[in-house]
Amino acid sequence: VSSRDIALVDLVDRLLDGGVVIHGDITLAVADVDLLYVGLRALVASVETLERDHGISLSGRGSALGAGAL
């Protein structure tokens, strides 16, 4: 699990739930969104397992801007 993976979980939250909605025409396929969430559930679970089993703190390292993620 990298800091970019963690940032991805937060990015998905923001892009699919946040942001300006001007009208109803959001073109993402529901099947694609579902697949993305299935992939992310595994990612979120592995982040939490890491934290719990090893006490690894990931604070401050998940920056989308700072982690060279782009």
């Binding site: 990015l11 923001r14 946040g18 909605v21 993402l28 694609d32 934290e51 989308a64 801007l65």
Partner: protein
């Protein structure tokens, strides 16, 4: 069709490539502008590389002034349709742009471990059936999680212009929050997160700075 990334004040398009490498331009008439690129087919799918491409444009736009990111997947048929949509909500967008100017969003995610049930005083449960003890225990755990969430959220909210948070209902209970933080205060904010993590029984994951996805509504929205 036009794919829209963000509403911005600056009429200059950001210096970045759009989805599928398309060039960016702005659409507007003197007020808030939309940052768009042209495509024959909807250019975005729900996959990480497309989401990051959308994000890259919004981040580049943020370097040029305040932005309101669009929800991913927003398309318009023509310039006229974009103009009409912006004009209809120009006042709202103006207010929202002013509200986020000079600030970024920082997110936290914390897994809250409540051990309070173990500490219930014997007096509380003495003379009661196992069902009652179980319910009391659950109630006390729920309260303990709420106290822990507040102990993390409140000191951070003080450092932010605005904040939004939610507490997950399923185990493990999770605090997910977003803070609108003045750019110069981001490092202080991170330092406070680290302090809180030391002091509380919780792992706190902090991400950002992000464009203000969670703070796009106008004052009265």
């Amino acid at each position: 069709m036009l794919y829209a990334y963000a509403i911005a004040q600056n009429p200059d398009p950001p210096r970045a490539g759009g989805l599928e490498g398309a060039s960016l331009r702005t659409v507007g008439a003197g007020g808030p502008m939309a940052i768009v690129s042209e495509h024959d087919e909807p250019p975005v799918r729900a996959r990480p590389e497309d989401l990051w491409a959308h994000e890259a444009v919004v981040e580049a736009a943020m370097e040029q002034g305040p932005v309101l990111p669009m929800r991913v997947g927003s398309v318009f048929a023509s310039d006229g349709e974009v103009l009409e949509a912006i004009r209809a909500r120009a006042e709202e967008f103006r207010a929202a742009l002013a509200r986020v100017e000079g600030a970024v969003e920082v997110g936290i995610r914390a897994v809250l471990d409540a051990q309070a049930g173990d500490e219930l005083a014997p007096a509380t449960t003495a003379g009661r059936g196992p069902g009652t003890a179980y319910m009391l225990d659950r109630l006390e755990r729920a309260r303990s999680v709420e106290r822990l969430a507040a102990a993390i959220h409140e000191p951070l909210a003080v450092l932010a212009r605005e904040a939004t948070w939610r507490l997950g209902a399923t185990e493990p209970r999770r605090l997910v929050a977003a803070y609108l933080v003045d750019r110069p205060r981001v490092e202080d904010f991170r330092a406070r997160v680290a302090e809180l993590e030391e002091g509380q029984k919780a792992t706190i994951v902090c991400t950002g700075p992000w464009p203000p996805y969670s703070f796009v509504a106008g004052e009265d929205a």
